[in-house]
Symmetry: C2
Subunit: 427 residues, 2 copies
């Protein structure tokens, strides 16, 4: 009995751990601005309450906790000696309005649970483990995203301090109200080279893993994106009196463009194209649309794929509009190259997956994440965990299972326990 | 000289007449609610001013003028004897907001000009000619169209008297304010059989005649129409994370439906289909549309053509949505059968056209007109006059030429001078 007890103490009960992770996700979800909804935006009372709760769990897990100048909550689990290199992990604890509870918190609470077990076992690594609860990623309150990771990467654009929320409060005022002095923001920055690796556990926010019956996936890259706003100008006319062949219908041109985008992006796996906005301004049932406005969003893990698709789409817009006698005003509103996950980190994740009987599956992240900012100062990688409900996210219907949380915890523990800080200049 | 003078007196100077018609159109356009725009809605000061002006021109032309209980201004040019049958013509003098000046007034001012010449010549016919200036056709102020013709046809729905304008004034109040007592509305009705024929001269409001280089056309029918509102419900999702093959994009389904409507209506001349409204409610560039709303308007001069197209379109909506996993809620919001113009009247118009060197061209009217209401009590027909600017109408850019007005006047005079009241039961 005694021997068995001792043996149990040195293994981890992942079922119990994952249940605690799921319970803590639910507890954190109580910190919300809107009753009955999951809304927690930067520096609101709900947000500060969540920060305090996370800090308490970090301390319980045996970490020393600090809050940086942007409001990131950082728990440090010291390595074998104080000068140890640093493995950083974490995710964000802000949310979109009426969002889901796993988007972000999973990547904070899962590592905290693992650290608690290492701490219980008295296990230390030749590197420190820091769990960062990023204060702001979604960009909801002040229309500026990724504030926490930008503070750490040293790329915080202080012009956004003047941004105002819906109540007219500036970010600057909100920070002072939360005892954060923007003057100290530079102190949050971490020098390039100080972080051996940054890894993030996150729900997939898509349907791929669920559709393939896989619990976990290794992220290859955070997709680059190209966005356009397209204004089409045709000729308005009476719906009853203008024959089909004489029309210059802006909405029909838009419909044809939308279907081309769909077809073109269908042609290559890993490429997606979306027309999220489509409007006929002042449209009336009996008037042929003289104008139509649509958004175009093209993403891919591989930049060449995205750029080729964007080129084809803009060329096809010209062709469709020329044929229809419709004028197109194409405005590129955003372009970001893809941020690759480090190959050696992807290989380590894949090895951990395989040691736990998981099929190796790599996929790009179509959504943005803090890692794409941290990539400026450290190699990054991500582990995706399967979502339920067809991958729905940014929505109360977002879900995942405790079983998947347990498996992700096993793989995370495996990854960290087998992690080796690369020799200088090697990664 | 004397002989020539006498001969000139018995012919009509159509160039001068058409110039006067065009000048009067411009004078009438000064009666507007909005400076710099052509807006004249039911019973406003501008509308009452226009009615007074029209009545004065009718009197100048030798007509006796009455105002009926709905506000129609009716000029009567008596026949050879007081019991003569009645040939009725006319059009409306209300407008849409910021509309064109010829839509309606042409069909009032052109016949007044012709009557003035007959009066000058002392010419009488074995039938009376009444020129009706219909008070309301567009339905702008009280969201109820064709009020003047409904009053004459005896189909005025008195429930619309409670309709309010943008200022909250009921139609009932507006009528009393204009010295019209709604109680007397039934007195405006004309018994079936009392009107030998109703004919209307109107601008085409479409591009067909202009494209074919023809000044005039004979209307075959006022098109029937079927209208739907279509609500599509797919699955919203993250624009970056849901692969193309896993999507249930409501807007893409809508785009495919729109293009099918276009293709289907292209397949048959005289058939038109329009998606005038297309919206993704709360659409965002980075969200796959979970909902889309679109209007569908299908029209044709021949009902069988329209019904077959509407059937095909609703079936295709089902097929497209089933394939895409999108739910369609199709609501028919309006259906009206086509109103045919009387064959014998079309033949008389065509004969008049040919006597003046015009190619005989028949075409349906895709827009509604007062004739479709008057058809309940009398045979109807219409003469279309070519529009400029690609047929644009309901717009300040609406235009037509004095030359076409002159030719239309010649044809109108020819039509009336050759008109024969059909024997009872013959038409």
């Amino acid at each position: 009995m005694t021997t068995m007890q001792e043996q149990t103490d040195l293994t981890i009960d992942f079922a119990t751990m994952s249940n605690q992770i799921m319970e803590r996700v639910d507890v954190l979800a109580l910190h919300t601005e809107q009753e009955g909804m999951m809304t927690r935006t930067y520096l609101t009372a709900a947000h500060r309450g969540a920060a305090g709760q996370i800090a308490a769990w970090m301390r319980d897990a045996g970490m020393t906790v600090r809050r940086d100048a942007s409001g990131n909550v950082i728990g440090r689990y010291e390595g074998t000696d104080p000068g140890s290199p640093l493995l950083m992990t974490g995710s964000h604890f802000d949310t979109v309005r009426n969002g889901g509870r796993y988007d972000g918190p999973l990547g904070i609470l899962l590592p905290i649970g693992c650290v608690a077990e290492w701490n219980r076992q008295g296990k230390r690594f030749p590197f420190a483990v820091e769990v960062v609860a990023f204060c702001e990623e979604e960009g909801v309150r002040f229309k500026a995203p990724l504030l926490g990771s930008r503070a750490i990467a040293g790329t915080f654009d202080t012009r956004v301090l003047d941004n105002v929320d819906d109540q007219g409060i500036t970010m600057h005022e909100a920070m002072l109200g939360a005892d954060l002095d923007p003057v100290h923001l530079p102190t949050a920055a971490v020098a390039r080279g100080k972080i051996a690796a940054f890894v993030e556990v996150h729900i997939e926010q898509g349907p791929v893993l669920q559709e393939e019956g896989l619990a976990l996936g290794v992220v290859t890259a955070i997709s680059g994106a190209t966005r356009y706003m397209l204004e089409l100008e045709g000729v308005a006319g009476h719906a009853g009196t203008v024959p089909m062949m004489s029309r210059h219908d802006a909405a029909m041109a838009g419909a044809e463009i939308a279907l081309f985008i769909e077809k073109r992006c269908n042609a290559a796996p890993g490429l997606v194209g979306t027309v999220g906005q489509f409007t006929v301004p002042n449209g009336a049932g009996n008037v042929i649309p003289g104008r139509a406005i649509m958004s175009i969003d093209i993403r891919a893990g591989e930049d060449t794929l995205r750029v080729a698709a964007a080129d084809d789409i803009t060329m096809e817009i010209e062709r469709i509009c020329a044929r229809r006698g419709v004028r197109a005003n194409v405005k590129k509103t955003y372009e970001a190259v893809s941020v690759g996950c480090a190959d050696w980190l992807q290989q380590r994740w894949t090895a951990s997956l395989q040691r736990h009987g998981c099929a190796p599956r790599s996929l790009p992240s179509g959504a943005g994440h803090d890692g794409m900012i941290i990539a400026a100062i450290a190699p990054i990688a991500m582990l995706f965990v399967r979502c339920g409900n067809g991958g729905i996210s940014h929505n109360p219907a977002e879900t995942m299972t405790a079983e998947d949380a347990a498996l992700a915890s096993r793989v995370f523990v495996d990854f960290v326990e087998n992690f080796e800080v690369p020799a200088a200049g090697q990664a």
